[in-house]
């Protein structure tokens, strides 16, 4: 865990309300693993918004630039989107546990909904570089305009299946629909799933994985004040078969095995 004031090296819109931003930090880049996150604060004396905001590490560029992919949804992300190359920001990271890598005989399958692509991109880079898998990724977006990183993912060599809610690209429907089709068709294969996206999607994916007895890791979000294990704010209800009542997303996660979570509470 490091804290650094550093400079933004780029910040550009890649789709409606979606931005890629990079900042230099060799040390943090070296330490970061897929699935980990950063707490990001625009440096300044203003106290509104007050808290830093959590973002997954989306990729590492040139060994020393950390990249995040983010969507403007409120005050903090809107301000972030206005910052420019050379502006100072304060980052703490890498935080959280990160994705466990697949075992020898496990076949990974990536499932992303919307901005869920953010941490899975980094994971897929790693999986392809290290293990040379035939990596399959299911992507769901609400509409074709929100499809980001298509070329990047394709050129990594991923096999993409895309669904859009409005049918403007790929299969009309949810990402779980195309996942279902695949799992039914290839019921002989027992892949392990890595999923990130809106909580409703993660719930659906997890319930499927649990019922099919597949290993499934999900990247969860919750309201965070600190990201550092100080506030106990980021609680998420544990499945009642465990003896911890709550997990803390920033410390115990953000990556969880599907069966660890009490999905009924979400």
């Amino acid at each position: 865990m490091l804290q650094e004031k550093t400079f933004i090296t780029f910040n550009r819109m890649i789709a409606q309300n979606i931005y890629l931003m990079g900042f230099r930090s060799k040390k943090m880049a070296l330490l970061s693993k897929p699935g980990q996150f950063l707490m990001i604060h625009l440096v300044g004396t203003q106290m509104d918004p007050l808290l830093a905001r959590p973002f997954s590490v989306h990729s590492i560029k040139d060994n020393d630039i950390l990249v995040i992919l983010y969507k403007t949804v409120g005050k903090g992300t809107s301000l972030l989107s206005l910052s420019k190359e050379g502006d100072t920001i304060s980052i703490i990271g890498p935080l959280g546990n990160g994705f466990p890598l697949p075992g020898k005989n496990q076949i990974p399958l990536l499932v992303a909904g919307g901005m869920g692509i953010a941490p899975l991109f980094f994971l897929s880079q790693l999986l392809i570089n290290i293990k040379k898998y035939e990596l399959k990724m299911f992507l769901g977006f609400s509409t074709s305009q929100e499809i980001v990183l298509f070329n990047e993912l394709t050129s990594l060599g991923l096999d993409l299946s895309i669904a859009t809610n409005d049918g403007s690209y790929g299969k009309k429907g949810l990402v779980t629909d195309i996942l279902d089709q695949y799992l039914e068709k290839k019921s002989s294969i027992k892949p392990m799933i890595y999923a990130c996206g809106p909580v409703d999607m993660l719930k659906e994916v997890s319930l499927r994985a649990i019922s099919l007895n597949l290993t499934c890791y999900v990247s969860l979000e919750s309201q965070m004040a600190c990201g550092l294990g100080l506030c106990q704010g980021c609680a998420i209800k544990a499945n009642n078969t465990t003896n911890k009542p709550y997990y803390y997303v920033c410390q115990d996660g953000p990556i969880f095995l599907a069966e660890m979570i009490d999905w009924g509470s979400l």
Partner: protein, 314 residues
């Protein structure tokens, strides 16, 4: 050559090397920031509120940001005093900073029981008694809104310990001084002013409270003016030291609290914004004293001037 200023302060017999303390509930169990800051530079560390038995805390969402502040409804989620001593405290043994336990009981006798356990735990230097948590149903703030029960809790704790007892007051009362005086008479050796203010927030699209618990406690810079006022009032009324907190973000905020009468200060929400805040406040106070040729930080405590007064002295 300028003399190194003496930042040390005394709280109920306990000497702190500087007046900067980390606030309960905002510094985990004390060791979480070990990789980022030198914990031994702090005046003291107050750990998360501890109860006799583990408490799960409230359902999420437990945190929401508000203008210049945050609302929390953690609900005193904690591992319990025994697990704390067994599992968390050992990591703090090498740290040369007094560890203060913040304690919370559902009843008078629970306060007494936790106190006894702490009495036997050498590494815990003092107790901060939380009679002001807005986020638990039984006890909590109720103890702190009434002079009589506030004094009773204090007595129960005092009877069972030889360690310094700090009582943490709630701002959610008509007259904080009457409670401060009652607690002082009951033997408290210091007061922490203040805990969080009650508050809530609503998510308009869903028309639901933003906190699952509906109500939470407000902290951060938003409450600084109130906290400062309460410290001013209490410090002018009691003889024991007052530890000021509420929205302190930097050393200048800390100085405001010292000036109105605080002997020491705590850093709470600011640690979430910047985990180095407490350390930066220590440095800031040190440099301020150097710059202003102030030999001991105690000289600042209660040095508020009248509005009309000339300011030649400063």
């Amino acid at each position: 050559m300028p003399k190194t200023p003496n930042l040390s302060v005394e709280i109920g017999g306990l000497i702190l090397k500087n007046p900067v303390i980390t606030a309960s509930g905002t510094f985990g169990y004390g060791n979480e920031l070990n990789q980022l800051i030198n914990l031994s530079s702090l005046g003291a560390i107050i750990v998360k509120g501890l109860s006799l038995e583990p408490m799960p805390g409230n359902p999420p969402p437990r945190i929401v940001e508000t203008p210049c502040g945050i609302l929390n409804s953690i609900g005193l989620a904690n591992v319990g005093i025994k697990a704390f001593i067994k599992e968390k405290l050992p990591a703090l043994h090498k740290i040369k900073t007094p560890i203060i336990a913040n304690i919370y009981g559902h009843s008078m006798s629970e306060y007494a029981k936790i106190t006894k356990i702490i009495e036997d735990t050498e590494k815990i230097a003092a107790l901060e008694v939380n009679i002001s948590c807005p986020n638990v149903e039984k006890g909590g703030m109720a103890f702190g809104t009434d002079s009589y029960t506030a004094a009773k809790v204090t007595e129960h704790v005092k009877k069972n310990t030889t360690k310094p007892v700090i009582v943490k007051l709630t701002p959610n009362v008509t007259d904080i001084t009457s409670i401060a005086v009652a607690v002082e008479s009951a033997g408290a050796q210091a007061l922490s002013v203040t805990n969080t203010i009650l508050g809530m927030a609503v998510d308009v699209p869903t028309r639901k409270p933003k906190l699952a618990n509906i109500i939470g406690g407000l902290s951060g810079p938003a409450i600084k003016p109130l906290a400062l006022y309460l410290v001013y009032k209490v410090a002018n009324r009691v003889k024991i030291p007052v530890i000021g907190l509420g929205g302190i973000m930097n050393y200048e905020d800390a100085l405001e609290f010292l000036i109105v009468g605080a002997t020491a200060i705590q850093i709470g929400t600011a640690t979430f914004v910047n985990p180095k805040t407490a350390i930066e406040v220590v440095d800031g106070l040190h440099n301020y004293c150097l710059r202003k040729k102030i030999h001991t930080i105690n000289q600042i405590t209660g040095s508020l001037k009248e509005y009309g007064e000339s300011n030649e002295k400063s």
